[in-house]
Amino acid sequence: MMRVISTALVLSAFLARAQDDPLQKGIAAFNHGQYAAAQASLEKAPDSPQRRAFLALTHAATGHCDTAREELAAEFAKDAASDLGRLTGLALTQCMLAGGDYDDAVPVLARLKALHPDDADVLYQCARLHMKAWNDTLYEMFRKTPGSYRVNQISAEIFEIQNRYPDAISEYRKAIEKAPAALNLHFRRGRALLLESHSPENLELARREFEAELALNPADAAAEYETGQILLASQQAQEAVKHFERAVAITPNFPEALQALAKLHLEATQYAEAIALLENVVRLQPANESAHYSLMLAYRNAGRAADAAREQAELDKLQKSPQGEFTDFLKKLGEKAPKQ
């Protein structure tokens, strides 16, 4: 937090006037991270809102949140949009997180985020709030329900994020043994198998998992889609089509399944069909680079050069955005397609 506060504060103008004025001297010392000196000077300064705010910030910075919280809250409530308001808000949430008062921190951070949407310190505190909540809940889960399948499931999900796919696969298996009828476990295990390897053996094992998921939940469009992808890789395009079509029948706006069907139409030189599907995908997901790329090639193959050029321009724009990498990361986490 020290770093958050000190790096965020650039109040060098105060330094010049800090020689005699205990308030300015205190603020300058605070900015240099000399909290004992800051406190000594600020306590000598005449009472003022600024004095109270910086004294509270100093208390917060030295871990005396009990003393600081009330004043920080007051200052934040007064003018959350100002620099000082932002600072006191950040210090206040820091104190709340340190005290485990996550529920209190939520509205403060929400206000900070609304007022300072691109502020790295604010976003960092938001991430910390969720991380703390995640850690504490996880600890509680492991302590209170150590034998539940959910513990195995969450362990598997953590292993997936850590690229420890064999461990993830093993944990999903344990979860399935404990809760054979629970939804989504076979799907996640299938995904983990695919993340581990695309060897023929893994493809076959993954396919069985997706089929098991479908046996539990015939309306799982994502499982249909994954089954289709495996069949496609295994040179069974005709069978794959049926699964993609079922996925689309379940979830008509399933972009990946629509795109998979479009690619098969493209391969079969059925350009009109491919274009119709891909135009739908880019309508659903205007930032979907992959769909724009496929659409560009579909237009090209259909002889629609101007449309292809337009798609290429769109793709050029999108590829400059950093969103792609994060989208890939999310996909790696095994998230199902949205709106399912």
Binding site: Q162, N163, Y165, P166, E196, S197, H198, S199, P200, L203, E204, L232, A233, S234, Q235, A237, K263, L266, E267, E289, S290, H292, Y293, S294, M296, L297, R300, N301, A308, A309, Q312, L315
Partner: protein
């Protein structure tokens, strides 16, 4: 299940068993080629070397071997003794040289009838002029090829982009690297691989630009990178180079496999300029529009439609990429449909099309090995040393992975990089030379002669460049017509035999050979013998 399908497919094709063995030791290739750290690597420069070449430097009709080395050793030239053995002639031929050697390409740049040699480096490239097969002379400075700064030169190729009869030179550049400023393993987010601190890059390291040198016809070259548009693409980590007339306009285009970035397809406009059209032509990305980590690159008309297709090897967790040329250099990624979607645990490097049983269909071989030795600590199915992959072409636009049943040579594990393809004993079967990191090279040879008939065409330009680089051939034997092109460079930073090998199955004669020479001459030869090397000299004005 996949395996049983593969076996069934082989049965239907009546294909003979393939048995590749590594004969490097018996052939006398017993020296290890050093390349950076063995247990770990601190810098990216340790991961990318090096290439291999088959060339006949003394015109005795037998392919010799050249291997590029990293520091701690020298590049090596081995003379083919004609009895399956090679002798190290590096020193007497004047080719001793140390440094961060990367790629190699050959071509007769001075049209004196002897194949010259160009070797790329992180540092200074070297052009060796072949002195009538009796030695090599470093003519880099004399030729005007000295570079004014340290560059990370990688793939290279001689080509005659303006069809003036003199071979020009393309040199790919990977990125800007120097030991002093390069971040160390773990230093930033681009220096990690699955929780392991590893050599940084390529991402996070600055891009560099590719180079085109024009041959002035008097033994000197001029850098025309800017004027030609070659230096324009500036967001690519360029590695391997593949030249070819992909749109059949009589002009040589250039494809560059790029690591972690879009690959480049320079289309030659015929007026001395090129533009990168890889994206609209469908050869920049995979079928999801995603840039892969292109390493090696190979070309063939694998489906017999008369158009040159492109194969690119990529990183692990990525598919290989097979681009089908649907005509006029418009490509579709057909990797999935062609049956190449399963080998995603390999980092692929050298690659080439070869007809393993001389049926008249080009099969595909690629060699593998991860970039980081540290990866073995992870205990996953990705390894620093790995086996090769051999795909059999079914003749119906599909490939079947037959690696596991193709002999011990394919299954040997190495951290392979460059691979060169050529028939060094002129027996009609193509051998594969592989440069392995910090090991002796591999020389893959089939234990039995392929059943089909064959022909090796050695083309000799007269008005065209003497090496005939850029000459396109259509060969008809029996009911099959095949096509190929003479190329410098290719694979991964390597050089294949400049002669063209065609398997012709059960055909007893070659009905017809049509050659489109770079000079524009169109030459037709008919009724040629099989199972031999045939030299065809350009008939200007034909």
């Amino acid at each position: 299940m996949i395996r049983s399908i593969a076996v069934a497919a082989l049965f239907c094709l009546g294909a003979a068993a393939v048995n590749f063995q590594n004969v490097a030791h018996e052939a006398g290739l017993t020296d290890s080629i050093p390349n950076g750290g063995v247990q770990s690597k601190r810098y990216i420069i340790e991961t990318t070397g090096s290439g291999a070449a088959f060339l006949d430097y003394d015109n005795d009709g037998l392919l010799d071997i050249f291997l590029v080395s990293g520091p701690g050793g020298t590049n090596r030239l081995y003379h083919n003794l004609g009895n399956g053995k090679f002798a190290d002639v590096t020193k007497e031929m004047g080719l001793e040289h140390t440094g961060w050697g990367q790629g190699v390409c050959t071509g007769d740049f001075d049209n004196d009838g002897y194949t010259d040699l160009f070797v790329t480096y992180w540092g200074a490239n070297v052009l060796y002029r072949n002195r009538a097969g009796r030695g090599f002379e470093d003519v880099t400075a004399k030729a005007g090829l000295k570079q004014d700064r340290v560059r990370y030169n990688t793939g290279c190729a001689f080509l005659d982009y303006d069809n003036d009869g003199h071979l020009d030179l393309f040199v790919a550049n990977y990125l800007k690297f120097d030991f002093a400023s390069a971040p160390k393993p773990g230093e930033n987010s681009y220096c990690w691989y699955r929780d392991l601190p590893v050599a940084c890059g390529p991402r996070g390291l600055p891009f560099d630009r590719n180079i085109l040198y024009h041959n002035n016809g008097n033994g000197t070259f001029k850098d025309v990178s800017d004027a030609s548009g070659i230096s324009k693409p500036d967001h690519n980590y360029s590695l391997s180079v593949l030249t070819g007339d992909f749109n059949h306009d009589g002009l040589t285009d250039i494809y560059v496999a790029s690591d972690r970035t879009a690959s480049i397809l320079y289309i030659n406009h015929g007026n001395g300029t090129f533009t990168d059209e890889a994206l609209p032509r469908g050869a920049a990305f995979d079928d999801n529009g995603k840039a892969l980590s292109g390493m090696g690159v190979a070309a063939a008309d694998y489906d017999g439609d008369g158009w040159t297709d492109i194969f690119r090897s990529n990183f692990s967790d990525e598919r290989e990429t097979l681009y089908h040329n649907r005509g006029d250099a418009e490509f579709d990624d057909v990797t999935l449909a062609a049956g190449m979607a399963l080998n995603t645990r390999f980092v692929g490097w050298g690659c080439g099309f070869l007809d393993i049983d001389n049926r008249g269909w080009k099969d595909l071989l690629l060699v593998n090995g991860h970039v980081f030795p540290e990866v073995d600590r992870l205990g996953i199915d990705v390894h620093f040393k790995d086996r090769a992959i051999l795909y059999r072409n079914t003749g119906a636009g599909k490939f079947v992975d037959i690696s596991e049943s193709s002999g011990p040579g394919i299954l040997e594990k190495h951290s392979a990089r460059g691979a060169a393809f050529g028939d060094y004993d002129n027996d009609g079967a193509v051998e594969v030379l592989v440069n392995n990191q910090n090991e002796t090279p591999t020389l893959l040879k089939q234990s039995t002669k392929p059943a089909g008939n064959w022909v090796l065409l050695k083309l000799e330009g007269v008005k065209s460049n003497r090496s005939a680089i850029g000459a396109r051939v259509r060969l008809t034997a029996g009911d099959r017509t095949q096509s190929d092109e003479v190329r410098s460079g290719g694979s991964y930073l390597s050089q294949n035999d400049l002669r063209l090998h065609f398997g012709v199955g059960t055909a007893r004669r070659i009905n017809r050979v049509e050659i489109d020479w770079p000079s524009g001459a169109h030459q037709v030869e008919t009724d040629l013998e099989i199972n031999r090397v045939i030299t065809i000299r350009e008939k200007p004005g034909s």
